[in-house]
């Protein structure tokens, strides 16, 4: 029972608990906050694996930008507690079981896959420098990278189109 394992379990527990609380919380703000918790926990795990750049991005972009955006919107629409309506009988009765089933199947498949088992443990042993990432980003993956720029453009466009008031 070495240190990394302990840290892993702690962070994993936090992440899972965060996710659960995201579900059980009634108020969107609380859900958002619990999601942030999850993300931070994940960032920790990334660090644990030695992917510190990703961890940073996770914190800054995800936990920072995106979630802030969420909270901002929640505030804007001053969304209150969600009323737990059950118009969808299907979701009421089959929803959770099916979700669990899917999860179970995926997990089972994962656990039983020889490949996954054979993988060497992911650890800081292989520490990826930001340099290598950027090189990859600008040589091998330059095309998708450029495309993402257009993607962002589309997103901005969308925000303009959708959120603008009627003129």
């Amino acid at each position: 029972m070495n240190a990394p394992l302990v840290i892993f379990f702690v962070l994993a527990a936090i992440a899972v608990l965060g996710a659960v609380s995201l579900i059980v919380q009634r108020h969107p703000i609380h859900s958002a906050l619990s999601l942030i918790v999850v993300m931070v926990a994940l960032a920790g795990l990334y660090l644990l694996m030695g992917a510190e750049f990703v961890a940073a991005v996770q914190i800054i972009v995800y936990g920072g930008a995106i979630m802030v955006l969420f909270i901002f919107v929640i505030m804007l629409l001053n969304a209150g507690e969600e009323e737990r309506t059950n118009f969808s009988k299907l979701a009421l009765y089959a929803g959770i079981p099916l979700a669990v089933a899917v999860t179970g199947l995926i997990a089972a498949a994962l656990v039983n896959s020889r490949v996954a088992a054979a993988l060497p443990p992911a650890g800081p042993a292989t520490l990826t420098s930001t340099r290598t990432l950027s090189t990859l980003l600008f040589t091998e993956f330059v095309y998708p990278f450029e495309l993402t720029s257009f993607l962002i453009l589309v997103a901005i466009l969308g925000a303009i189109v959708l959120a603008q008031r009627e003129n």
């Binding site: 990703v54 995800y62 995926i106």
Partner: protein, 100 residues
């Protein structure tokens, strides 16, 4: 050292929790959060694999995913605002004009 399997299992669980959240929550915004949660799970898997294989490109993918997530967030929240504006409710179940 933490076996990769653990990470994968965790990602699977988070992904599953994301699904649960998606079908369980009623508030559109939280449902959207559920999607973000699922994406995070995917990211975890990516990082885990890339670290295990010692191939950095997995982390590049994570960056891409985050960018996409950001874009989706922008558009998604725009749509949510639009919906909320059109019908004064954020309950996804009340949005059922189109049916049958």
């Amino acid at each position: 050292m933490v076996p990769t399997n653990y990470y994968l299992l965790l990602s699977a669980i988070l992904f599953g929790l994301g699904i649960v959240a998606f079908v369980f929550k009623r508030n559109i915004i939280t449902i959207f959060m559920a999607i973000e949660l699922m994406l995070n799970a995917v990211n975890l898997a990516f990082v885990a694999f890339s670290q295990a294989r010692g191939k950095p490109d997995g982390e590049v993918f994570v960056l891409f995913v985050i960018i996409v997530a950001a874009a989706e967030a922008a558009v998604g929240l725009g749509i949510i605002i639009l919906t909320a504006r059109n019908r004064r409710s954020l309950n996804v179940e009340s949005v059922n004009l189109l049916k049958l």
